[in-house]
């Protein structure tokens, strides 16, 4: 795990509802280097948010981690108690969420909420904390931060609030920032600004970033490496250009085909993926995607495929990559190039 900032091993998390155990994250492993931007894609219910909430140990009743390890800077966070996790959250790992309109407490000023977080983690007095907060506000591009410091959240626009939340998350200089759909609730123009800001933050502060999204456009714009999740599992993991130009998983393929590509001249039809995600209360025995996959084989319904190493740094969970499988040109291309 040497230079890995974050190392997640065989993480499992479930929600224990009155109808039974919903296995939201099933054996997820990945790692993140210092200063890296990792994209986490998948449709809603794929387990991407739960994975990150588990990393922060923020799952609340009835959800909890059922297995695995989360090593951050070499230390496993899973066995830590609530008190120790409070030292980690906001200080070493921070998180910003989807809806900036509701993510700030409406009854306190933005400034006082920032000062509260700063003083929680850093030995500063009120005045120093205020200075630090104003500095952060200006860093994330909020104009006249001294005045804005005293404003209430409802006096901020949506984009400004997300900037303020990012400022708050970064105020203690964490090693990792997890952004859970940070742009979904924003206007398109604001989205681009916020993404740009996240990129800048990485440049200037060297923060590693996990960007959760269901929007492939966001991934293409800002990530270096991508993990595609489905049914609580990692389906494919690869550098960003491989995902877009050389996907090796039917699910990734389906995702790409369901997004319009404005650069293509041909009036190709968008192909939505038929069916709906698997029921994680009774997860299928085989590949979670087998029920919707157009290449599904009998083995897919019976046995869970392993993660095949397609090449260095590119893995995909699909039986079609097995030696014994029939050759499907979309997925298995070795030797067929050119």
């Amino acid at each position: 795990m040497s230079d890995n900032l974050l190392q997640v091993d065989h993480l499992r998390a479930s929600f224990f509802t009155h109808v039974g155990e919903v296995q939201a994250v099933r054996d997820v492993s990945f790692s993140l280097k210092k200063g890296e931007i990792l994209g986490l894609v998948g449709e809603s219910g794929s387990g991407k948010s739960v994975t990150c909430m588990s990393v922060m140990k923020l799952l609340s009743h009835p959800g909890r981690i059922t297995g695995g390890a989360v090593h951050f800077r070499g230390r496993d966070l899973v066995p830590l108690g609530e008190r120790e996790m409070q030292q980690v959250r906001g200080n070493e790992i921070s998180m910003v969420f989807q809806d900036p309109m509701t993510s700030l407490n409406p009854v306190y000023t933005v400034g006082s909420q920032m000062v509260e977080v700063i003083r929680q983690h850093r030995p500063l007095d009120r005045r120093q904390a205020k200075e630090a907060a104003i500095k952060m506000l200006s860093l994330v591009g909020i104009p006249s931060p001294e005045e804005r410091f005293h404003n209430y959240p409802h006096e901020f626009s949506g984009g400004m609030r997300q900037r303020a939340l990012i400022a708050m998350a970064l105020s203690c200089d964490p090693g990792l920032l997890i952004a859970d759909e940070p742009t979904t609730a924003l206007d398109v123009t604001i989205q681009a600004q916020v993404l740009e800001l996240i990129g800048e933050v990485r440049e200037r502060l060297g923060t590693s970033i996990i960007l959760i999204t269901h929007d492939l456009g966001v991934i293409a714009e800002s990530c270096e490496r991508v993990i595609v999740m489905y049914g609580g599992m990692i389906m494919e993991q690869a550098p960003v250009e491989k995902i877009f130009f050389d996907p090796r998983n039917p699910y990734t393929l389906g995702l790409l085909q369901s997004v319009p590509d404005p650069t293509k001249e041909t009036r190709e039809r968008l192909q939505p993926i038929p069916g709906s995600p698997p029921d994680l209360l009774n997860p299928p025995r085989g590949c979670p995607f087998s029920g919707r996959c157009r290449f599904a084989m009998h083995i897919c319904e019976q046995r869970l495929p392993p993660l095949y190493e397609v090449e260095e740094g590119h893995q995909s969970r699909c039986w079609l990559l097995d030696e014994a499988a029939p050759r499907v040109p979309e997925i298995r291309k070795e030797g067929a190039k050119g």
């Binding site: 922060m56 923020l58 609530e82 008190r83 996790m85 409070q86 030292q87 980690v88 959250r89 906001g90 200080n91 921070s94 998180m95 969420f97 809806d99 509701t102 993510s103 700030l104 407490n105 409406p106 009854v107 306190y108 509260e116 977080v117 929680q120 983690h121 209430y152 409802h154 939340l165 708050m168 998350a169």
Partner: protein
């Protein structure tokens, strides 16, 4: 802010003016003489009384006179207890009722809100069930039933509490519990559900993600937001306590406004009914205004304009 207060004061005065007018004319339309009692009065005495109470003047003259007196905060004289001025009655009785009301509201706030928070924090465990049972009891059982039972069980049977009247702190327990019981139960429930609503809010998740300690999240971030609907309800609490005093003071024989009001109703003592009604209304209107100001202080999204 100042503009808002002025505007509210004006509308309060308008409300009271309209109420006074309505009450005045309504009571004048009741058939029969207000002096009808068990014994019929001799015509001479009735004529004297009519003159004393200004009842021979044309209606509009009576109305103007009454309104003029109101401007001087003079609520007139009782027509059943000769010579007793309504102002004096209120002056004597209100402090008694106000003391009961004060303790009842304190009970609602100081016990009701913490119980609600406790129930929310212990959701689904025995303190929650116990509190929920008690609040259901408090909401479903009317104040006069609670009052009568306290009086019977603790006053008559066990002898722990004095059987009535207001002498010493122990005599306050029964009336205050009966008066505040319903509102306390309601506030507890409201606080509980409001706390639970707030706890699932995004900003609470933000606070947790930023590593704030649990106590700080509950008491600084969740509670203040959860109190917003509770504060809104406080206006209704005043109404509940005013109306509750009618029965509770009767049960516990407390010489307060409520008891006199009910007596004046039973005696058809119209000037007293009118005076106390106006007094209650004015009190309530002022209280609601104060609640609105408190509301704006808690929730910065509310601006005292308009």
């Amino acid at each position: 802010m100042l503009r808002y207060i002025l505007k509210r004061l004006l509308s309060m005065l308008l409300t009271l003016f309209l109420l006074a007018t309505a009450v005045f004319f309504l009571l004048r339309f009741i058939p029969g003489s207000p002096f009808t009692r068990e014994r019929t009065l001799s015509p001479e005495i009735e004529a004297l009384l009519r003159e004393k109470y200004n009842m021979d003047a044309p209606l509009w003259q009576q109305y103007l006179d009454y309104m003029g007196d109101l401007l001087h905060l003079d609520l007139g004289t009782s027509i059943q207890m000769l010579g007793v001025r309504v102002n004096d009655m209120i002056r004597n009785a209100f402090p008694v009722s106000a003391a009961l009301g004060f303790w009842a509201i304190l009970l609602v706030i100081v016990i009701g809100i913490p119980l609600g928070v406790l129930a929310a924090l212990k959701r689904g465990r025995w303190p929650d069930y116990l509190i929920s049972f008690l609040t259901t009891l408090g909401i479903a059982v009317p104040s006069f039933v609670i009052g009568s039972f306290i009086l019977y069980v603790f006053g008559e049977r066990l002898g722990w509490l004095p059987p009535g009247g207001l002498y010493g702190w122990r005599s306050y327990i029964g009336p205050v519990l009966a008066l505040g019981g319903f509102s306390m139960a309601f506030v507890t429930r409201l606080t509980r559900s409001s706390m639970l609503d707030v706890t699932s809010m995004d900003y609470i998740r933000t606070a947790r993600a930023n590593g704030l300690p649990r106590g700080r999240i509950v008491f600084r971030h969740a509670l203040k937001n959860a109190l917003i609907p509770v504060v809104t309800y406080l206006g209704s609490t005043f109404a509940a306590i005013i109306t509750g005093s009618f029965v509770v003071e009767k049960i516990f024989a407390v010489p307060g406004m409520g008891k006199y009001f009910v007596e004046s109703i039973n005696n058809r003592d119209y000037t007293v009914i009118m005076g106390t009604t106006l007094f209650f209304a004015a009190l309530y209107v002022v209280m609601v205004f104060l609640v609105d100001v408190a509301y704006a202080l808690i929730d910065p999204r509310i601006k005292l304009q308009d």
